[in-house]
């Protein structure tokens, strides 16, 4: 039985370091190749030695697919391709291909330049890695090789995020990456057709959450920012750039315009600003409304939002600053946080999920004293607010996607084990499909049962369809017969006659002739007629003919009558049939042996 195997190297019952191995139809794929924000050691990257102990990965992987540009999905890519060694194709969408190297470079700079790590990938490695990338377009069917094909679907979440369908023959797997089932201010909702994959591998970040309406959250967010500004406080919004930043910028921009506010709004670093350019050029990946109006007004040209300079952090008066990264684990957002943490007028708004081990995660859990590098502690006095703006599907959304795709099996990744367990129960109950949630390094095996594609000769098919009538009759299923010819890789189903012809074989006729003696005091022709009548009454639904040349035919069985030479009352019946009529012929000969019933005329 064919099998599909799924092994998470990362994101198995965890968030971060997404990296999932899939074996399907003899092909091996790696889905995402991310880093873990919560670790600074080896655990930061997936354990590629699982694939092979020594040597390069090229021989073991047919392709690598990256779902979107967030570092927990692509952060280990240059390490994997350039340091471990992989030269095969890497697939990602155009926006991901554009933005991913910038985030990787940023990640590298923080790690190497600021933290002073050595033995890390270099800028050149990022470039070399990106050269192996083949861009994917939405809905395009990409033939990785003769058998393996992949297709991308829109996933929402961030610019260029994609879900991928992986198909070999009639087996298929869909991997969602991160997705969002409700459109937001700048992106559309994820969509997939009823592709009935054997396994749907879904993220489950918000497996137990059903989020309230977006509008309420937005109002809340604006209210909090506004209040803080009014009392002269500074608001820090750590974001992943690009991504949530754009949505929140659009939100603040329109709010500032409407309320005629004057407090400055800043982007940190050129990065986010650059990101806005990407959004402008990849406007086809945003939502309907933005695409429709972009000629008149490009939503990503902000009037109120300006580039941030490090010195501004010490400026007096209120301000709003968007700074990266989003989990306060390093970089500019952390620097600003340190500066502003001591003042209770200030506020930090965490708009997304924070991985365990990051400062973001700590302060969200109410920790007010933080241990910093160099054994110093930081008192957190500013207000800490959490607003779920990260564009992941919630429980409702995940169920909705399952309904769309109708998978035969479910597999959850990118979530916390406890929450997954809950969702798994719900899925199994509502859809009665098996749901798996393997841990990292654990393999889930699903056996598939694919149908065998065969080429049927049109003659045979049309004959069957004509006989069967336009609608199949469930009570009387018609059986069709044919010969399957298996030659090299081709499977052809033809009628037996055609099979003989195609294979250049002669037909061998096997015939039987039987003499049956019968007592019947009538003339030969009367006896024949009596036989005809008798068979007519016994064999309902058969073609029985009384031919003028003195024979009776039942289907293709020939029956002749002659009188015995010595006794005219003894008739000799001659039955002759071919092997194809064996059952009927055998039946007839024993039937006639019993003689004819009286009362036939």
């Amino acid at each position: 039985m064919p099998e599909i195997k799924v092994t998470p190297l990362g994101a198995g019952q965890d968030v971060g370091r997404s990296c999932i191995l899939v074996s399907i139809g003899g092909k091996n794929l790696m889905l995402d190749c991310g880093m873990h924000m919560g670790y600074n050691d080896d655990r930061r990257f997936p354990d590629f030695s699982y694939i092979t102990q020594n040597g390069r990965l090229t021989d073991f992987l047919d392709c690598v697919i990256i779902s979107h540009f967030h570092l927990d999905h692509c952060g280990a890519l240059p390490y994997m391709s350039e340091m471990v060694g992989y030269d095969g194709p890497i697939y990602m969408t155009h926006p991901t291909k554009a933005i991913c190297p910038i985030l990787l470079e940023d990640f590298r700079k923080i790690t190497v330049d600021k933290k002073g790590e050595t033995n890390f990938f270099t800028s050149q490695m990022i470039k070399d890695c990106m050269k192996k990338v083949i861009p994917l377009n939405l809905h395009q069917t990409v033939q990785v090789d003769d058998e393996l094909e992949i297709k991308a679907y829109y996933a929402g979440h961030v610019l260029g995020a994609a879900m991928v369908q992986i198909k070999v023959g009639s087996e298929s797997v869909v991997y969602t990456g991160d997705y969002n089932m409700t459109p937001d201010r700048h992106l559309g909702a994820a969509w997939i057709d009823k592709c009935r994959p054997d396994i749907l591998i879904s993220e489950s970040t918000y497996a137990t959450t059903i989020r309230d309406s977006k509008r309420c959250r937005e109002r809340d967010f604006l209210k909090k920012v506004h209040e803080s500004i009014e009392r002269g406080g500074k608001v820090l919004i750590p974001v992943f750039a690009p991504g949530r930043a754009q949505e929140l910028c659009i939100l603040l921009e329109t709010f500032w315009e409407r309320m005629n506010l004057k407090a400055p709004i800043y982007f940190s670093t050129g990065l986010t600003e650059k990101a806005n350019h990407y959004y402008k050029l990849f406007i086809t990946w945003t939502n309907q409304k933005i695409r429709k109006t972009f000629v008149q007004r490009n939503m990503f040209e902000f009037k109120h939002i300006k580039a941030f300079d490090r010195s501004y952090a010490d400026n007096p008066g209120p301000m709003v600053v968007f700074a990266t990264p989003g989990m306060l684990h390093a970089g500019q957002s952390l620097q600003i946080f340190k500066k502003w943490a001591g003042n209770e007028k200030n506020m930090v708004i965490m708009p997304g999920y924070c991985v365990q081990g990051t400062i973001g995660h700590k302060i969200l859990n109410g920790q007010r004293k933080l241990e910093m590098e160099g054994r110093t502690t930081l008192d957190v006095k500013l207000q800490v607010e959490y607003m779920s703006f990260s564009a992941h599907a919630d429980a409702k959304g995940i169920m909705q996607l399952i309904r769309m795709a109708e998978p035969r099996n479910m597999l959850l990744v990118h979530g916390e084990a406890v929450k997954m367990e809950f969702l798994k129960g719900k899925i199994e109950q509502e859809f009665s499909v098996d749901c798996y949630m393997p841990a990292n390094g654990e393999t889930t095996t699903v056996t598939t049962n694919p149908s065998v594609p065969v080429d049927i000769s049109l003659n045979l098919l049309k004959r069957e369809m004509a006989l069967g009538g336009p609608l199949p009759d469930p009570k009387k299923p018609r059986t069709m017969h044919g010969t399957l010819i298996m030659k090299e890789n081709s499977l052809k189903l033809v009628s037996s006659e055609q099979a003989l012809k195609e294979l250049g074989l002669n037909e061998h006729q096997l015939r039987f002739t039987c003499r049956v003696q019968l007592q019947d005091p009538h003339s030969d022709s009367d006896t024949l007629h009596r036989i005809y009548k008798h068979l007519k009454s016994v064999l309902k639904g058969y073609t029985i003919q009384h031919l003028p040349d003195g024979t009776v035919m039942v289907e293709s069985i020939v029956i002749k009558v002659s009188s015995s030479a010595d006794d005219t009352n003894t008739k000799v019946l001659l039955l002759s049939w071919s092997y194809q009529d064996e059952d009927l012929g055998s039946f007839l000969s024993s039937l006639l042996k019993k003689g004819l019933p009286s009362g036939l005329c």
């Binding site: 377009n137 050029l281 990849f282 049927i456 000769s457 049109l458 059986t479 002739t513």
Partner: protein, 658 residues
């Protein structure tokens, strides 16, 4: 499989393919050359045009001075311009399931097809094709609606009258079917039926066929189409280009192994080299500007204009034209320029790389930023106050019959300092200029048509080797004006099947096989046996299920157990229910081996007699005859059923079953 040809214009095709159970329209091009028979629509009152004399037949019996005007010896219809539509009588358009669009120039007749004909299907197009197609339609509607004309001339269409009109009006075909432009409402309704597709996306139609667009390299989002089932493949090649301009390169390899290739949209200028024309365009432009004249470039609002602007971007500095204003005037100028920058996925590699930086892929963004290029929705408004001369104006429509270009013809036509440079190949420039004669301005004709030429297409066909090629009849003979140029036609073996307007072709196609799926349970129950080395056969008895054009075979359900019958005696009398018929037999029964087998079964007294075709075995003890021949065996056995069945099974041992 049939092909209905609804358009005779080779570059603006409209064909309908009936394939399996589907009816597929391939493109719906609108033949706009008909507008050349009409007077231009001026944006502001033109005394010259209104003073043109009316036409009266020579003998004075027919007076059409209200409808027809004469200008420099040519007669024009003074009415709203009308278009020549695809044929609508050849087949019932409401039966069309889908329309496949290959590029934005080939969809201009869409509203005529999808509206008011009962069409209920889906239109497939790529996103750039839809967006830019919408802009071109919007522009057309705008050009027509902003200068409403009260008069609608119909008398000249009367057959008796048309016959006596001077050419080309006399020879115009199907004039009664010519139609005025559609409305914006019809455009919106037509385009709402479009479903977007990406290159190499596989779209299933009713489970019967699969269609897939391929990059054709001609314009943003332009595509060729593959229409295929599991066993048959039709390629539809429309406007395609192998030149490196802005669009993604043409996907050639996916066209391989086609049974039929429908070839349309070759270059209309087979003798003009696009690069040479581009050079001529630049030098004429520079010459005119230096001499203090203005340059008018009648063009479409999308397509070659992007390449012209890019060429000028590089040329401006070297030709010291840095201060010359370039104007692009069209109701959709801004949209066209903006849209061109957001379709990175559909651009050539170089332009894609720019987006990754991130920079706009086309340099016209910089021309606009530095104020070298300005765009305006029309000559009214801001343009009239900001307009400086000498300048270069890009504007439509290339037919010179409507749009802002009409105004510039009236304005600049009288001065020999000015130049009009034709770059679009769709209209004969002499015909386009006819209603403006006599004209003092210089005319330069540099048609830039990047579509495949005959040399390229024959190389392509050699590469992809379709079994049959179908093409417009124009491609099967050299152009009338160059009848000696046998290199300007398609020479193929077998010769291409030509079509013309209203042709119905039977495509040479024999469908032999169809895909069925054997369900796993049945597949596992099959018993293959090797018949020849590497070839195995298995007899299959199965129930066929057909749904949505998909066929599956599953195991024959076991008959329900016969309820225990009370009339036991009758059971024997029941005729056999044949579930599985006996297989066909093949092979021969070898005499010696067969005799040995008989012996093993205790049949020893066998008298063998040789005949012409084989042997007759006489089983003396049993009084039974077996006739063994090369292609048949005949068992004659009386009254001994057990013996007969034994013999049967012994014979079967030597034969193959199919």
């Amino acid at each position: 499989m049939k092909l209905y040809c609804l358009s005779g214009h080779p570059t603006l095709p409209c064909n309908v393919l009936k394939f399996k159970s589907t009816t597929i329209m391939l493109d719906c091009g609108l033949d706009t050359t008909s507008v050349l028979n009409f007077l231009p629509l001026p944006l502001v009152h033109s005394s010259r045009l209104s003073k043109l004399p009316g036409w009266v037949s020579k003998d004075g019996t027919v007076n059409l001075e209200k409808e027809l005007k004469e200008c420099s010896g040519r007669v024009f219809v003074d009415s709203h311009p009308e278009f020549c539509l695809p044929e609508r009588e050849l087949l019932d358009l409401s039966t069309i399931d889908v329309i496949l669009i290959s590029n934005y120039h080939c969809m201009m007749a869409l509203p005529y097809i999808t509206e008011h004909t009962g069409f209920t299907g889906t239109v497939y197009a790529t996103e750039p094709t839809l967006q830019i197609g919408r802009l071109l339609m919007e522009e057309l509607v705008n050009f027509m609606e902003r200068v409403p004309k009260a008069q609608s001339a119909t008398c000249w269409k009367n057959k008796e009258i048309q016959r006596i009109l001077p050419g080309p009006l006399k020879d115009a075909v199907d004039v009664w079917t010519w139609k005025r432009c559609y409305s914006m409402q019809e455009v919106n309704s037509a385009l709402s039926k479009v479903q977007l597709v990406g290159y190499s996306q596989k779209v299933e139609l009713f489970g019967a066929v699969q269609v897939s667009p391929l990059s054709s390299g001609y314009s943003l989002g332009s595509s060729n189409w593959i229409i295929q089932s599991h066993h048959e493949k039709v390629s539809y090649v429309s406007g395609s280009s192998l030149l490196t301009t802005h669009p993604q390169p043409m996907d050639q390899s996916s066209l391989k192994n086609s049974d039929v290739l429908i070839l349309t949209g070759l270059t209309q200028m087979p003798t003009a080299n696009p690069d040479g024309m581009l050079g001529e365009f630049c030098s004429n432009l520079a010459m005119t500007i230096r001499a203090g004249g203005n340059v008018l470039v009648p063009c479409y609002s999308s397509g070659v204009i992007y390449d012209l602007l890019e060429c000028l971007y590089q040329f401006i500095e070297s030709a010291s034209l840095g201060t010359t204003p370039f104007y692009f005037i069209s109701p959709v100028a801004n949209s066209s320029l903006e849209f061109s920058q957001i379709f990175a996925e559909w651009l050539c590699h170089n332009k894609q790389t720019k987006v990754y930086l991130p920079e706009p892929p086309f340099p016209h963004a910089e021309l606009i930023q530095t104020n070298k290029l300005k765009h305006y929705p029309s000559i009214h408004g801001d343009f009239s106050s900001e307009f400086r001369q000498p300048c270069v104006v890009f504007t439509g429509h290339p037919s010179l019959r409507f749009g802002d270009v009409v105004h510039f013809m009236e304005l600049w036509g009288k001065s020999s300092l000015n130049t009009i440079i034709f770059t679009e190949p769709d209209f004969s420039y002499l015909d386009a200029l006819a209603p403006y004669q006599p004209l003092a301005m210089k005319c330069v004709y540099c048609p830039i048509d990047t579509r495949l030429n005959f040399h390229q297409v024959s190389k392509l066909l050699k590469e992809i080797q379709p079994l049959h090629v179908v093409c417009p009849e124009q491609y099967t003979q050299p152009p009338v004006s160059q009848s000696h140029r046998s290199d300007l036609m398609l020479e193929l073996q077998p010769p291409p099947m030509p079509y013309r307007r209203c042709s119905v072709l039977n495509l040479p196609f024999r469908r032999r096989y169809e895909r069925v799926y054997i369900l796993p349970e049945l597949a596992n129950s099959l018993v293959p046996s090797e018949i020849k080395p590497g070839i195995s056969v298995a007899t299959v008895s199965a129930v066929l299920h057909s749904k949505d054009n998909k066929h599956t075979l599953q195991s024959v359900p076991k008959p329900p157990p016969v309820p225990p019958s009370k009339k036991r005696k009758r059971v024997m009398e029941e005729p056999p229910v044949v579930l599985v018929p006996k297989p066909l037999l093949s092979g021969a029964v070898p005499l010696e081996a067969f005799l040995a087998t008989l012996q093993k079964h205790g049949i020893t007294e066998v008298k063998v007699e040789e005949t012409a075709d084989g042997h007759i075995l006489h089983l003396q003890a049993e009084d039974t005859l077996i006739q063994l021949e090369e292609d048949g065996t005949h068992i004659v056995c009386d009254n001994n059923e057990p013996l007969r069945t034994t013999l049967r099974d012994l014979v079967l041992r030597f034969l193959q079953k199919l």
